[in-house]
Amino acid sequence: MTNINKVTTPLTDEVVKDLKAGDQVSISGVIYTARDAAHKLLTESIKAGEELPVNFKNQVIYYAGPTPAKPGKVIGSCGPTTSGRMDAYSPIMMEQGLKGMIGKGPRSREVIESMIANNVVYFAAIGGAAALIADSVKEAEVVAFDELGPEAIRRLVVEDYPCIVAIDSEGNNLYELGVQQYKVVD
């Protein structure tokens, strides 16, 4: 983990291709929060042929539901949630042109295959380091599904949001490589 790779959103195919599992990254630009309930609604809309409230082409989705902002603050604590719960929806989102996902924890085989097919990268942020992460959020605005409260879709403008490439667009997977390296077999 030598140098930090500065990445700006929206992502291009070239940038995605260059990112490798284990790269330390800092992201700047717009990212969209969406978690379980929002993904359910989004994918239902896609299946019904409806227009989505946000165009996800080349965009990054952040699996997160922040705490309420205190007065004078842009956002509350805002760390990643478990990505695995979005596995059922992610391939459909990638087919919509989604280029990046930020969350925590491993992904399913199907998601990784879809990432390879659609040239998509998966970033992991540090789960539970939510007060720290909030510092990199400069703007936040609900852009869809306000009624979902913490699960609404928020458009965040982030500056130097810290994360790690956990699974790259070739399917290299830090969750497998790292664990293999440190597993002790007696």
């Binding site: 539901g65 539970g128 720290l132 790690i164 664990v179």
Partner: protein, 281 residues
């Protein structure tokens, strides 16, 4: 009989729920700092350093350390010589949660119906409340906001007595292996063994209310806790599942007598944001 008003209970629950979210208990923080020193993997170390920094920042800014401020598990031990006056205990506890989550700017993460509507109740109530009558004239309240990332990775098995100690160990190791990076390791592993199906799950949850790293009072179970911790940390999962030496900070086992034909075992995981606060009235 000593009288305690339910308003006092509300006040305590409110304070504890805000404190729990923003101020990680020192026992857990101590284990995390030790882990920074032990961890060899670069991503593991990186994660642990961020986690420790986050704990300090959350405390200084009085901000929730994690955005998942949980569904709140409340353990109440009520002395038999206490008379609670002024209303319902459960209502008073939920009122405390309501006020704490509002005033503390904590996330409301509870849905009204688990399957059919999944509509947010808007105030993080109701809590999951367990009351127990004990001798004495005090009321002890423990508040454990429980995040779903770790809660979802819990596991229960009704083992056959013939499976013995090996069966118990295998099941615990399997549960932690399957959880992998999902419960935000390093985790605290709560284990409940014995009783009935429901009792073992309650024991496993209660194990998480114990001061982190404090061993079981029975030396044989203490040895088992230590052995399991070593075995779990050989799994290589590491902080955040990125690979490393520290997958768990502690293993806490609680047991209860059981039926001749059964051996229930539950594993309940807590993430590094192992929030627990208590007060005695």
């Amino acid at each position: 009989m000593r009288e305690i008003t339910v308003e006092q209970i509300t006040e305590v629950v409110k304070t504890l729920s805000i404190e729990a979210a923003c101020d990680l208990p020192r026992d857990v923080e101590k284990l995390l700092k030790e882990a920074v020193a032990t961890e060899e993997s670069q991503f593991g170390k990186y994660s642990l350093e961020k986690i420790v920094k986050n704990v300090e920042l959350a405390r200084a800014e009085h901000a929730p350390m994690c955005q998942d401020t949980g569904i709140v598990v409340v353990f109440v031990e009520i002395g038999q010589d206490v008379h609670l006056i002024g209303g319902s205990l459960n209502d008073a506890i939920n009122e405390g949660i309501r006020q704490g989550y509002q005033e503390g700017y904590l996330r409301k993460s509870v849905v009204e119906d688990p399957v059919l509507n999944r509509k947010n109740t808007g105030d993080n109530t109701p809590a999951v409340i367990y009351t127990e009558l004990v001798p004495g004239d005090q009321v002890k309240i423990q508040v454990l906001p429980k995040g779903a990332g770790s809660e979802n990775m819990g596991a229960l098995k009704m083992l056959k007595p013939a499976e013995g100690l090996e069966g118990v160990k295998d099941f615990i190791i399997k549960a932690v292996t399957q959880a992998g990076g999902n419960p935000c390791p390093p985790v605290i592993v709560g284990v409940g063994i014995g009783g009935t199906m429901d009792k073992s799950t309650l024991l496993a949850k209660k194990a998480l209310a114990r001061e982190a790293g404090q061993p079981h009072s029975n030396p044989a179970y203490q040895a088992l806790e230590e052995e399991l911790l070593v075995e779990i940390n050989k799994l290589g999962i590491g902080p955040q599942g990125f690979g490393g030496k520290v997958t768990a900070l502690a293993v806490h086992i609680e047991t209860y007598p059981t039926h001749i034909a059964t051996m229930p075992v539950t594993v309940c995981l807590n993430c590094h944001a192992a929030r627990h606060k208590e007060a005695i009235l």
